[in-house]
């Protein structure tokens, strides 16, 4: 397209009013909210941002854990003092959430490795109404649910160990 004052000349030679072009060029960027919006896209979208949120959460925990374990270098007194800070009910709840994030991220990550390798996506087909993507099939949905169930089971086991009184 070539812009020409009030009019824009199309490749086909037709003139389009500039005002119409402005309507067509409206800002469609949603930014972070578009990235986080779980609506419109189904479970695959939920899986997409859960993978990212759990990844960032696990990285934050990992950095905190490296700092936590570095306290051992300060001797027994410092180590015991730091344990008193982390081995609390809130500390255990955070650890249970971390266990859930870790298991979900791992299980869903394995599913994604297969997806990126083209496994379990089904055969390509002609796009017919209602244009459901062949790749978003029951295998993928099952994988997401398995990851969520495994995370829940791991969290329950973690809770039994942390609050089990051992």
């Amino acid at each position: 397209m070539v812009s020409g004052g009030l009019y824009t000349i199309c490749a086909c030679g037709e003139k389009i009013l500039e005002m119409e072009k402005e309507v067509a060029d409206r800002n469609n960027r949603e930014g972070m909210m578009g990235w986080l919006n779980p609506r419109r896209y189904g479970w695959e979208r939920v899986s997409y941002w859960l993978q990212r949120l759990t990844g960032v959460g696990l990285l934050a925990y990992f950095i905190a854990h490296i700092y936590e374990t570095s306290q051992i270098a300060g001797g027994p007194a410092l180590w015991e003092a730091f344990l008193e800070l982390t081995q609390t009910t809130l500390g255990h709840i955070i650890l249970i959430v971390v266990i859930g994030m870790c298991v979900y991220h791992s299980a869903n990550g394995i599913r994604l490795i297969f997806v990126h390798g083209g496994k379990g996506l089904g055969k390509p087909g002609r796009p017919d109404y209602p244009y459901d993507a062949v790749s978003l099939n029951y295998r993928q949905k099952s994988g997401i649910w398995i990851a969520l169930i495994l995370a829940l089971v791991a969290m329950l086991y973690g809770a039994s160990v942390l609050f089990g009184g051992e």
Partner: protein, 132 residues
């Protein structure tokens, strides 16, 4: 080797590795991390009760065990590479420009090296503590 070190080459892009190679490293470190972290967690709960495994003497004893040190260092390196590359991928999905991409890559690599160095320092110091 021709695809390596293409810094300032044809595409003028700051890239030591192709993105497809980086993703292979991401997957390999991810799968390997699952195994080493699983062993690390099992060591906390399978050998002795969780609370007892966190006692100072038991933690120091872990740092005296060479195979366990290798395991800890493996976790440190694998999770750092996987984690910071994951963060880099997320940040590159949010915004794209050469300046942003180069900045994110440099910062994540620097953070990864700093974390590995700090964690290794803990392992070395804790290993020495048992000989005092």
């Amino acid at each position: 080797m021709e695809h390596l070190c293409s810094l300032g080459a044809n595409n003028k892009k700051m890239a030591m590795l192709r993105e497809s190679q980086i993703m292979k490293i991401h997957y390999i470190t991810g799968v390997a991390a699952i195994f080493v972290v699983a062993v690390h967690i099992m060591m906390r709960i399978a050998i002795m009760p969780y609370g007892m495994s966190l006692e100072y003497e038991n933690v120091i004893a872990n740092y005296q065990n060479i195979p366990y040190i290798v395991l800890l260092e493996s976790i440190l390196v694998l999770v750092s590479i996987h984690g910071f590359n994951g963060l880099r991928v997320i940040l590159l999905e949010l915004r794209q420009s050469k300046k942003w991409e180069d900045g994110v890559t440099v910062l994540t690599i620097a953070a990864m090296i700093a974390l590995i160095a700090y964690g290794t320092r803990t392992i070395i110091i804790a290993n020495g503590l048992g000989f005092e």
